[in-house]
Each structure stands twice: as structure tokens, then as C-alpha cells.
């Protein structure tokens, strides 16, 4: 009997592993056949398997946290409209409802039942960001969701294996890139089909009639593992707030995080109301980034599923920017949502004696550039300017970690990859004249904040073009922790005209001029005067820190080659008693 129990235990482990591999195959299929750049290049997708109650059992580890909890919650909405009993073999369901799916119309979520021996045994769901959904296009300028594109309520994408041609025709005639978007919808259906096929094979191999026992094991084991992790933290309530740029006005993100025996609660009461523009966050997306931020430090190795996710509960008052309701505009919800890990990590910093990373750039700096008819400023000389629309992913610096520097130009919390300069220049007439580290942008600290970068972009044809900006930390910098300094704010401006540009919204770049984007640095960690002078020397040698900043911010005297003058450094450091001007320390 004891042997039997032991064998069952090993078998459950093996099957759990296999289930994770099944959703991994599902996700890989989607990555390979998707058209949307953000899905393919940046891994902006999600794939998972659910039980018949709509509880997520396993999810592929993919590039973006924005879908984690959002997609997990969406299957319940599908089941409410189409209960298991009405599903037929070959049915596929779809929606891009921002409030039922993953937060904006560009994300389509597709759910497919898995049939085995004529019965539904599980559901596969996946989400990806399609190239275009009509409306104003990808940007933050809309004031209501109706302007943001086509809305597909939960409905059938396929009925008993027959694609819904009416829906597809509606989609094709409402988007700018019909072939690619239709291709993406097919890709979503196909990846669920691969998942289903693999699950059935797995059930055959292990002789399973249902996934209930396995599902229960996964959910229970994951939930208890989360509770064990949470129990290691000191109970209590930890408050934090962070001010970010917003669109038409500043936004305060206010959180109160409570560590209890049965889980972690986050309450965003006090957060600013929704914006008039498309940077609002539907609640499911707020949940996703909140829980991601917590999971970075609490139980990071526990797989995502209904059991681990349910240990974190999120509250946000209706109508605040983190629980914006229809008809709020939401296309650029990532700008606000990606700030949430910084907010909750600021709470957890007070609870953890190891500390957490400092604030960083956090929101991606992914400029959308548009050119061609109607975008060239009506200048007759450029009537034949090449039409293009490119979305390239770039980012500033990440916050410093408690024991190491922040990563330079690295996306966090998003996990997207950039697009090579040579590829961007091959597919459109833009020339990226400069893309280099931005000296002195990382916040000073014992551990330095990640360095941002400077990009200069012009049109090789000399024609005017347009940027759709969705950037933050232009007004409010990333703050350091434990005496670490501020990261430097970002800025954008016209190179020749010198005109400053806004962090958000569509703006023209006139003929012959180019745009310079200086991306923010991450906050520092710890007193910069405690930084190892040798590291400051290397930073000066490599141009991450200037000699002046080394002296002023770090109290280190160093020559241009990075050789530290030990005596002079000791003298300077001894002179200073007070810490440098910086943010309030979260712990004080």
C-alpha cells in the first residue's frame, strides 16, 4: 500500500510535468504561426489548459505577464455564455472584449473544448495580440472604447469544425491588415487544437478518464505551496503609492497590501480615477500585473494555475484607473498596468528583510511610427512617401536589485524582445541613427539602477512621419530604495527644431527632422557612497557614469580610463555625512 501511494505520487508528478509540456507545445505552435510581431518576436501571448469548472491547471511560460491572470479568469465568462453541455466537437469560441479577456481589443482570446470518447474532458484557451483591430490604430489617443476598433463579443469562431465565415468577413472588412489578422485567428484555433490532441494522447497513455484527480492535485499542491511561502512573510499591512505621468494629468497608484494566513490581499483604494484617454486598465489586467509583481518575490518557482493564483486577491474600486469600466478607452492599458509591480513591490519591500528591486522604467518604450498618405502633413512634395506602420519594442533601465545592479535597457515587468535595427530599416524607410546607452541615466546607489538608452530616428526619404507615443516616466522618475537615487526621467524631442514632445499621443516629425528619444534609467539601491569604488571605476571606463557624476553622486575620484584615486576617494567620502537628495525611503 505504501509502495502504491509512492507510485501514485510519482505518477502525479510525471503527469503534471507532461501537462506543462502540453501547454508549452500549444504556445510554441502559436509563436511559430502567428503574424503579429508582438506575439512572434516578443512572446506577447498566453496558452493554458482548464478543467470543466473553468479553473486553470497549467499555463505556458511566455513573454508577457499581462495575460497571466487575465486569461485565467476569462474562461469563466465563456462558460457562463456557453455551458459545457452546449459545446460540440469542433466548436471554437472567441472574444476580444477587454473586460472579459485581457484588457484591450487587440487581444483575442480563443477557447476550445477537448473531446475524448464523445465527452468534453478539458478546455484549452489562448490569447494573442493581433496586428490591428481597426479604429484609431495602436495608440493612447481614443476617448472611448468605440473608437478603438472592432468589438467581438463571446461567440463561436467555429461551429462543429466549420469556421464562422460571417465573423471572419466582418473582421476582414474592419481591420487594416485583414490577411494577417485572419491568419492570427486561425493560429489561435490551431494551437488549441494541438493542445487538445496532445492532452488526449496523454490521457490514453496514462489511462485517464478525466483530469479531475490530476487537476485537484495540481491546484491543492500549488495553493498550499503558496501558503507556505506566504507564511514565511511577516503578517501585516503595507502601504505604498507611486505617481506616474498619466495622459492629461498625473496619476497616483495607491496600494495597501495585507499579508494574511490564507493569502495576500491588495487593495487599490485611493488610486486616481480613470483617464479620458486610452491608458485605462480593465480589472483583469490589473489583477495580472499585480499578481505578477508579487510572484516575482513570493513563490516564483510555483507554476501558474488556479491554485497558486487564488492565493493573491486584488481589489480596485470601480471607476478608478485600475478598474476602468466600459466605455473607457483602454488600448494602451499596458502603460499604466506595467507600473503595478513597482507599486506592490514597494509594499513588499517593507515586509521582506531581503528587500526587493528598486523602481524601473517599467512601461515599455515601444514607439509606433506611421508614414504615408495623410500622415505626411499635407506636403505635396511627399505625396508619394512610402506608407508604413511599425511598432518596435525598446526599453529603458530596470531598477537596481538589493545585491546587484539593475539590468541596462531591459524590459521589466514585460518580457518582450526588441526588433533589430536592421530589420526595422529593411521593412520601412526609417533610419535609426543612434541607439546607445544613455550616460548617467541609471539611479546612483550601492547598486546602480539600469541605464536607459538614446535613440535617434529619422525618415530616410526625408518625408514627415508620425509617432504614436505611449511612454511614461517622462515627468516622474523611477525611485530608488534604501538610499539609492532616482533614475533619470525620459524625454523626447525633435533634433533640429529642439522642440520637446509629449510622452503620450500622436505627434508629427516634420520633413527632414528626426526624433530623439532618451529613455529613463532605473532607480538605485542603497547609498551610492557605499558603492565599491572599483565598480564606479568600471562604469566610468565604460561610459555608464561620467567622471563628474562619479565624484558628485558616488564620491569617487576616477580618471577617464576608470582608474580610481583611492586616497582622494576616501577623502571625498569622509567629507559627506548626509545622503544625496533622493526619494523618501520606503521604510522610513
Amino acid at each position: 500500500m505504501q509502495t502504491q501511494d509512492a507510485l501514485t505520487q510519482i505518477r502525479l508528478q510525471i503527469m503534471w510535468n507532461r501537462l506543462i509540456s502540453v501547454v508549452e507545445e500549444q504556445a510554441q505552435t502559436l509563436i511559430r504561426i502567428a503574424f503579429s510581431t508582438s506575439t512572434r518576436e516578443a512572446g506577447d501571448l498566453s496558452a493554458g489548459v482548464f478543467d470543466l469548472a473553468g479553473r486553470m491547471l497549467a499555463q505556458a511560460v511566455t513573454g508577457t505577464p499581462g495575460h497571466i491572470n487575465a486569461m485565467a479568469a476569462s474562461v469563466i465568462h465563456f462558460l457562463a455564455k456557453y455551458p459545457i453541455g452546449v459545446m460540440r466537437e469542433g466548436d471554437v469560441f472567441i472574444t476580444n472584449d477587454p473586460w472579459m479577456g485581457t484588457g484591450h481589443l487587440n487581444d483575442f482570446t480563443v477557447v476550445s473544448p477537448t473531446f475524448r470518447k464523445g465527452r468534453v474532458v478539458a478546455l484549452f484557451a489562448c490569447t494573442s495580440h493581433v496586428v490591428d483591430v481597426g479604429g484609431r490604430g495602436f495608440g493612447a489617443d481614443a476617448t472611448q472604447v468605440y473608437e478603438e476598433g472592432l468589438h467581438v463579443p463571446i461567440m463561436r469562431l467555429a461551429n462543429r469544425g466549420e469556421m464562422n465565415e460571417t465573423l471572419l468577413e466582418m473582421v476582414r472588412s474592419n481591420v487594416r491588415t485583414p490577411v494577417e489578422v485572419e491568419g492570427d485567428l486561425y493560429a489561435l484555433a490551431a494551437c488549441n487544437e494541438i493542445g487538445s490532441r496532445r492532452l488526449v494522447e496523454m490521457m490514453d497513455e496514462f489511462g485517464l478518464e478525466s483530469v479531475d484527480e490530476l487537476g485537484e492535485h495540481i491546484i491543492t499542491a500549488s495553493h498550499s505551496a503558496m501558503l507556505v511561502e506566504i507564511a514565511k512573510l511577516p503578517r501585516g499591512r503595507y502601504d505604498n503609492s507611486m505617481r506616474v505621468d498619466g495622459f492629461e494629468r498625473d496619476i497616483d497608484l495607491v496600494a495597501s497590501l495585507t499579508i494574511a494566513e490564507d493569502g495576500i490581499d491588495v487593495d487599490f483604494t485611493g488610486t486616481s480615477p480613470a483617464s479620458n484617454f486610452g491608458i485605462n486598465v480593465p480589472k483583469s489586467y490589473c489583477d495580472a500585473y499585480t499578481s505578477f509583481g508579487i510572484r516575482c518575490v513570493v513563490g516564483p518557482s510555483i507554476p501558474n494555475n488556479a491554485g497558486s493564483l487564488s492565493a493573491i486577491r486584488v481589489k480596485a474600486p470601480e471607476g478608478c484607473i485600475l478598474n476602468a469600466l466600459r466605455p473607457c478607452a483602454v488600448t494602451a492599458r499596458h502603460v499604466t498596468g506595467q507600473m503595478l509591480p513597482d507599486v506592490v513591490l514597494g509594499c513588499l519591500h517593507q515586509a521582506l528583510n531581503t528587500g526587493v528591486l528598486a523602481e524601473g522604467t517599467s512601461c515599455l518604450w515601444n514607439p509606433v511610427f506611421l508614414g504615408g498618405h495623410g500622415l505626411a502633413g499635407g506636403d505635396a512634395a511627399f505625396e508619394n512617401a512610402t506608407e508604413f506602420a511599425v511598432n518596435c519594442f525598446h526599453t529603458g533601465g530596470m531598477g537596481a536589485r538589493p545585491t546587484v545592479d539593475g539590468l541596462n535597457t531591459t524590459s521589466f515587468p514585460s518580457g518582450v524582445r526588441n526588433v533589430p535595427i536592421e530589420v526595422t530599416e529593411t521593412i520601412c524607410p526609417l533610419i535609426i541613427w543612434r541607439k546607445e546607452y544613455r550616460t548617467d541615466s541609471g539611479g546612483p546607489g550601492t547598486f546602480r539602477g539600469g541605464t536607459g538608452q538614446i535613440m535617434e530616428v529619422g525618415n530616410g526619404e526625408g518625408a514627415p512621419f508620425v509617432i504614436s507615443a505611449m511612454f511614461d516616466r517622462v515627468k516622474h522618475p523611477a525611485r530608488g530604495r534604501e538610499g539609492g537615487g532616482l533614475g533619470v526621467t525620459g524625454k523626447l524631442y525633435l533634433k533640429k527644431a529642439g522642440t520637446a514632445m509629449q510622452g503620450k499621443g500622436r505627434q508629427p516629425i516634420p520633413a527632414g527632422d528626426s526624433i530623439i528619444m532618451e529613455m529613463p534609467g532605473g532607480g538605485g539601491y542603497g547609498d551610492p557612497f557605499d558603492r565599491d569604488p572599483a565598480l564606479v571605476g568600471i562604469d566610468v571606463r565604460d561610459g555608464f557614469v561620467s567622471r563628474e557624476a562619479a565624484r558628485q553622486q558616488y564620491g569617487v575620484s576616477v580618471d577617464g580610463e576608470g582608474v580610481v584615486d583611492r586616497v582622494e576617494t576616501e577623502r571625498q567620502r569622509a567629507l559627506r555625512a548626509a545622503p544625496p537628495e533622493g526619494p523618501a525611503r520606503p521604510r522610513s
Binding site: W16, R32, E205, V404, E422, R541
Partner: protein, 695 residues
């Protein structure tokens, strides 16, 4: 190779844990395995060659060709022991190799570190120049900005320089001019042109490849010259050839010019062996499974050809995760490598799950049972506890094993934490590593648009035959082939590899603006370059050629490889390319996307010597049941029980011999476990073939 066909040939493969040697004398194959001497690899090579020569009863003068593959290039990159290297870049774009992809390969680890670039920022030097994507000059090269670097090179003691200018794959003129200026001033400087080692679009990957080539070049040149001298001193008069990652072999001269192509040559040798076996045994679809001391390599082989690719990552610093290494764009055999080898270490995680690898105990200290101070339980320890390995004959009796050490390690670190007894704890470890390999194989197949059902498994490397039947169970595979000398499969693969060279060019072309003449000119140029390199080693031996295009729908991010015809291309061939792309795309993804334009990013051309025609295995004569040399029990995963099994000594088994599972077939460098669900027989070529018993 034809000139030396009559003489014996010797292949040496230095791996992470073992150095393997194979000598082929006529139809005799003699193999040897010794532990790798990490600190002085050529010492292990010489020792292993000496042993093998004695075994084979031949002298260096009898040898017609030495073929060598080594992890030295890879190790120099992993351990950062290369030359002081500078990278010359276009002004304004100094940081591509450091910014990399601006992402994190591990979503949840806030302490994640990225691999630092091989060239630090203060040695990345801008020159004033700029090309556009068509290769047109936007800013002419400012030669004064190049001349200014000459004093920098001396001042910083830079030994090797990589030149990686933007869009130089489309027009190498500026890179060549920079090289000329430097070479004129500093004749001893090692210089790598990115437009030569990797003329491909995507600046990060290209500069990374060029930097890595420059970084290892002085070291590899020195090692190879030194090894060549040692071999001459031993009395070898034959040439020394090097195995490359793409599956071909090449002369020392070419190897020294492109040392970056020497990485991962061992696994490539394994894939070449499996391909050869696929042809000999008439197996149209094969899953090659190579499991050694540190990792397992899985490769798909269709119709005797392994999948090829041009993207590879070396020196992964984080649990073998994709993205945690340095990207290289060189010809490689497409395979998945996971941290699952005999030395992989088992743990119990926070969720009370057994995890295995990717950390490996290596050869020093090695698994707990090596009794060299390693206390961590490994896969080899689990195999020993499960009765799969005979402690007395491991690695030909050259490595003594201590079963009690294995038992203690498994029980303490796995059994006790989970409340499992010793055999079940060992079973848990083995089952988890087998599951990991099966999952890696499945995901790899889906990434390549391939199916695993109906494939035969070719199992080699010291640990693969121990795990093959269980892996086959998990993948639904019914036939396993364990070749002769399976324990040193990669080295044997070296003996089967052609002299080959692949050339790449990036020329962007949309099919809607197809230009056949441009393509013909490009192919002619590539053909003469590849032929020149191959002729250096192959003389007038007959060669064959293959051409490929890397194509995608406009707007997609991944290219797929499409086979091109070997002939002049006319304007009407636009339709042929479209059809070839459609067919390849359908094979991968099940459908095409009508109405979307197709573009080609890069083109490759390979020239290689003709392989000897395979000898197809005839039906062997039936023989009476073989006689076991002993009896042992092993733990059978399918029934989760120990079973009694006869032990056969493989050299005693002649073609036609048959035996029924459960059985153990032992040989010097490995052991094949025939589980109760399989029967085994020896084919006409001496390979051990396992067939699932029909119930």
C-alpha cells in the same frame, strides 16, 4: 578522402566528461573512452590515441587521417578564457552586443543576470560611416576615424579585432577597408570581418558571432598548431581535420580562419552517425538520441538527413534556458540539448517534486558513485541503484563505482525527503529525467512541424542505451537501434562526415520583385567560395551541392528553410520559389496564407564530398538463442518492480542472434537495457535492434 581511404582513420572527440576515440581499420572499429583532462585537453587526446592505437595494434604511420572535434572553443566561451578582443562598430550604434534583445529570458527571477558581452564597452570602438539596408552609402567611411584606433589597439593590448558595421552583410566595402587599414599598420593583429564569418541581417547576432570568432581565434590557432605538432612528434604523417558544428569536416587552415564553426562539433558527429544508420537500416524517419555525461541531445532525421539551421546559442549561463547564452549564426545541425546526462544532479523542490539537472557533477567530482568527493545524487547513481549499470565494468572497468555512495546520496537527498524507499527514489529520478527528455523531444518536434510517431530511435552516447526503452515507451516508439560502439557515437560519426563548407549571404528579395539574374550572380559567387574551401581538403574528389533560401511571409519574424534547385534561375522561377515555400510552409504549419507576399532574407549554399554509398543491412542468418554470460536484476519502470534478467556480453552476440526482454546487453562503454516489453536481435551490420513485442 579518397587518397587515404585504404589507410586506417582515427577520430577523437573531447566532450564535457569523456574523451572518446574511434579507429577504423578496414572493417574493424576500435573504440576507447577516457575521462576528459579539462586543464590540458591535448594530454587526454594523446593518452586516448595511445590506448586506442595499442588496442587496434596499429602505429601512427598506418593512419591516413585524424579527425578531431573538441569542446575547447565552447569552453573558452563559457569560461571567458579567450583573447582580449575589440569590436569596431558604426558610430552611434555602439551597444548592440550588450543590449542584446532587451528582454529577460527568465520571467520570475528578479536577480537574473545576463551574459556579459565578450567585448566590454570600452573596447567597442565607433568609426564614422553608415550604410542603409540596401547597402548604399549614407555616410562615407571616415578613414581618419579608423586610423585613430591603431594606437588604441596597442595601448589596450588588444590581440584580436572583430569588425561589425551596420548593414555590412549587404555591402562589405567599409568593413574590408577598415581591415586593410588596420592590417597595414598591425600585421600580427587577428582580424575577423562580420561580413565574412556571418554575412547575415540582424546586427546583434552577427556582431555576437564575429566577436566570438575573434575572441577564440588566437587560442584555437595556438591549440591546433600545438596538437598538430604533438601528433607529428608521435609519428603521424597524415593530415589533421576538424569536425564542424554543421556536420562537415574541414582542414586546419579553414578551422583557424573560422574557429567559431568548431563549437558543438561533438553533437554534430552524433547526428551524422545517426543519419548514416538511418540510411543503412532503411529507416526513413529517425529520432537521434545521444545522452552523455552532461547533456542529452535530440535530433530529427528524415530520409537520412538531419535538420540544419543557422542559429545556435553557446555558453548558456542559466539552466540551459534559451536566451541565456551568446547567439551564434553559424551552420549547425538543428537539435535540442537539455541538461539531462549521467552526471545530472537530482533535487527535491519546494513543491516536493523531483527535479533533475541541468546542473551536472561533470567528471570532477562526478556522480556520488565515482567516490571522488561528489555527494549529490545523479542519474548515474539512480541507474546504478536500479541495477542498470554493472559497477565492475563501467567505462571498460576504467572507472571504479561505489554503489553504497550512490545509495546514500539517493536516499538522503531524494528518498527521505519524499518518504520513498531506495529503489522507488531512484526510479523517481530516472523517470523524471526520461520524462524531461520525452517532453523536450515533443516540443522540438512541434517547433519543426514534425511528428514523432512511427520514428525509430537511434540511441548512443554512454547513457542513452540505459534509458532508451523507457524513452521509447513515453514517445510511442517501437524500434530502437543501438549501433556498434554506441558509447562513443560522436567519434564514430566524425569518421562518416563529409568534407563540407556552407556559405551564407543576406540579400533581401520579395517574390513580387523577384530578380533571377541577381540570384544567379550571388549563387555563382557563393559556389566559388565554398568550392575553394572544400577543394583544399578534398582535392578532386567528387562533390555535391545544396542551396537553400530563408523565406517568410512579409511581416513574419521567423524564416523557414526552403530547398532550391541546383541550376540557373530564370524569371519564371519566381513561381517555383512560391510553390517551394508553400510546400515547406504547409509541411510546418498545415496551411498557407493566400494573398500575402513572400520575402527571402538570406541564401545559403553548401558544397560537400559525396558520402560513400551506404551498405544496406541485409537480413542476417538466423542463429540459435545467444548464451548469457550472467544474470542480474534491474528495476523495470513500466511495472515498477525489479525483474531478473540474463546478461549478455555484446561482443559475443553475432549477427542474427536474438534475445527476449527483460535482458541486459553489456559492452565496454555502455549497457543496453532491454525492458520486458522489447525483444532484441543483432542485424547484419552488428547493430543491436530492439523491437517492441506485439501483444
Amino acid at each position: 578522402m579518397s587518397t587515404s581511404a585504404a589507410k586506417a582513420r582515427i577520430a577523437v572527440d573531447i566532450g564535457g566528461t569523456f574523451t572518446d576515440v574511434a579507429i577504423e581499420v578496414g572493417d574493424r572499429l576500435i573504440t576507447t573512452k577516457v575521462l576528459t583532462t579539462t586543464r590540458a585537453p591535448e594530454a587526454g587526446v594523446i593518452e586516448a590515441i595511445d590506448l586506442a592505437l595499442a588496442d587496434a595494434r596499429v602505429t601512427p604511420a598506418d593512419i591516413g587521417l585524424v579527425i578531431h572535434g573538441t569542446t575547447l572553443a565552447t569552453n573558452a566561451l563559457i569560461e571567458r578564457k579567450g583573447a582580449k578582443t575589440a569590436l569596431i562598430v558604426t558610430e552611434g550604434l555602439r551597444d548592440s552586443v550588450d543590449m542584446a534583445q532587451e528582454n529577460r529570458f527568465e520571467q520570475y527571477d528578479i536577480y537574473m543576470a545576463k551574459p556579459p558581452p565578450l567585448v566590454p564597452r570600452y573596447l567597442r570602438w565607433p568609426v564614422k560611416e553608415r550604410l542603409n539596408a540596401k547597402g548604399e552609402v549614407l555616410v562615407p567611411l571616415d578613414e581618419a576615424s579608423v586610423e585613430a584606433l591603431i594606437s588604441q589597439i596597442g595601448k589596450h593590448g588588444v590581440e584580436s579585432v572583430a569588425i561589425g558595421l551596420i548593414h555590412a552583410y549587404a555591402n562589405p566595402a567599409h568593413e574590408r577597408r577598415v581591415a586593410d587599414i588596420l592590417r597595414a599598420a598591425l600585421p600580427d593583429l587577428w582580424i575577423t570581418l562580420a561580413s565574412e564569418v556571418c554575412p547575415e541581417i540582424r546586427e546583434y547576432e552577427r556582431q555576437s558571432t564575429a566577436s566570438a570568432n575573434a575572441y577564440i581565434q588566437p587560442l584555437m590557432a595556438k591549440y591546433l598548431a600545438h596538437l598538430d605538432q604533438r601528433l607529428r612528434a608521435m609519428g603521424f604523417t597524415c593530415p589533421l581535420y576538424m569536425m564542424m558544428s554543421g556536420g562537415g569536416i574541414t582542414t586546419l587552415e579553414t578551422a583557424i580562419a573560422n574557429p567559431i564553426r568548431l563549437v558543438e562539433s561533438g553533437p554534430a558527429g552524433g547526428a551524422i552517425l545517426a543519419s548514416r544508420i538511418a540510411l543503412e537500416c532503411a529507416l526513413p524517419q529517425v529520432l537521434s538520441y545521444d545522452m552523455g555525461g552532461t547533456t542529452a541531445k535530440i535530433c530529427l532525421i528524415d530520409h537520412g538527413k538531419p535538420q540544419s539551421s543557422r542559429s545556435f546559442e553557446v555558453a548558456r549561463i542559466y539552466r540551459f534556458l534559451k536566451g541565456s547564452g551568446l547567439p551564434l549564426r553559424v551552420p549547425v545541425i538543428e537539435m535540442v540539448e537539455i541538461g539531462a546526462g549521467g552526471g545530472s544532479i537530482a533535487h527535491v523542490d519546494a513543491l516536493k517534486r523531483i527535479t533533475v539537472g541541468p546542473e551536472s557533477a561533470g567528471s570532477e567530482p562526478g556522480p556520488a558513485c565515482y567516490d571522488r568527493g561528489g555527494g549529490a545524487p545523479t542519474v548515474t547513481d539512480a541507474d546504478l541503484v536500479m541495477g542498470r549499470i554493472d559497477p565492475a565494468t563501467f567505462a571498460g572497468g576504467r572507472v571504479d563505482l561505489a554503489p553504497d555512495r550512490a545509495a546514500t546520496a539517493i536516499l538522503e537527498r531524494v528518498g527521505t525527503p519524499l518518504g520513498l524507499d531506495l529503489p522507488l527514489a531512484a526510479f523517481g529520478v530516472a523517470e523524471m529525467v526520461d520524462e524531461n527528455m520525452a517532453n523536450a523531444a515533443r516540443v522540438h518536434a512541434i517547433e519543426r512541424g514534425k511528428d514523432l510517431t512511427g520514428r525509430a530511435l537511434v540511441a548512443f552516447g554512454g547513457a542513452a542505451p540505459l534509458h532508451a526503452t523507457r524513452l521509447a515507451d513515453k514517445l510511442g516508439i517501437d524500434r530502437i537501434v543501438v549501433p556498434t560502439g554506441a558509447g562513443v557515437g560522436s567519434a564514430i560519426g566524425f569518421l562518416r562526415a563529409p568534407i563540407a563548407y556552407e556559405v551564407v549571404r543576406s540579400r533581401h528579395m520579395r517574390l513580387s520583385r523577384f530578380d533571377g539574374e541577381l540570384l544567379n550572380a550571388l549563387m555563382a559567387e557563393m559556389q566559388s567560395e565554398a568550392t575553394l574551401v572544400v577543394r583544399r581538403g578534398a582535392g578532386e574528389a567528387p562533390t555535391r551541392e545544396s542551396r537553400h533560401a530563408f523565406m517568410r511571409y512579409v511581416g513574419q519574424g521567423h524564416e523557414i528553410i526552403v530547398d532550391l534547385p541546383i541550376r540557373r534561375i530564370g524569371p519564371e522561377d519566381r513561381h517555383l520559389l512560391q510553390n517551394l515555400f508553400d510546400a515547406a510552409y504547409t509541411q510546418l504549419y498545415g496551411r498557407t496564407v493566400p494573398g500575402l507576399d513572400v520575402e527571402v532574407l538570406s541564401w545559403t549554399l553548401t558544397v560537400e564530398t559525396m558520402p560513400a554509398p551506404p551498405v544496406e543491412a541485409a537480413d542476417p542468418p538466423r542463429r540459435p538463442a545467444a548464451k548469457p554470460s550472467g544474470q542480474r536484476r534491474f528495476f523495470d519502470p513500466a511495472s515498477a518492480k525489479f525483474v531478473e534478467a540474463p546478461v549478455y556480453w555484446r561482443p559475443d552476440l553475432l549477427p542474427g542472434a536474438r534475445l527476449a526482454g527483460p535482458a541486459i546487453v553489456a559492452e565496454d562503454q555502455t549497457t543496453t537495457i532491454v525492458s520486458p516489453g522489447f525483444d532484441a536481435w543483432i542485424n547484419a551490420l552488428g547493430y543491436l535492434v530492439l523491437d517492441r513485442r506485439r501483444s
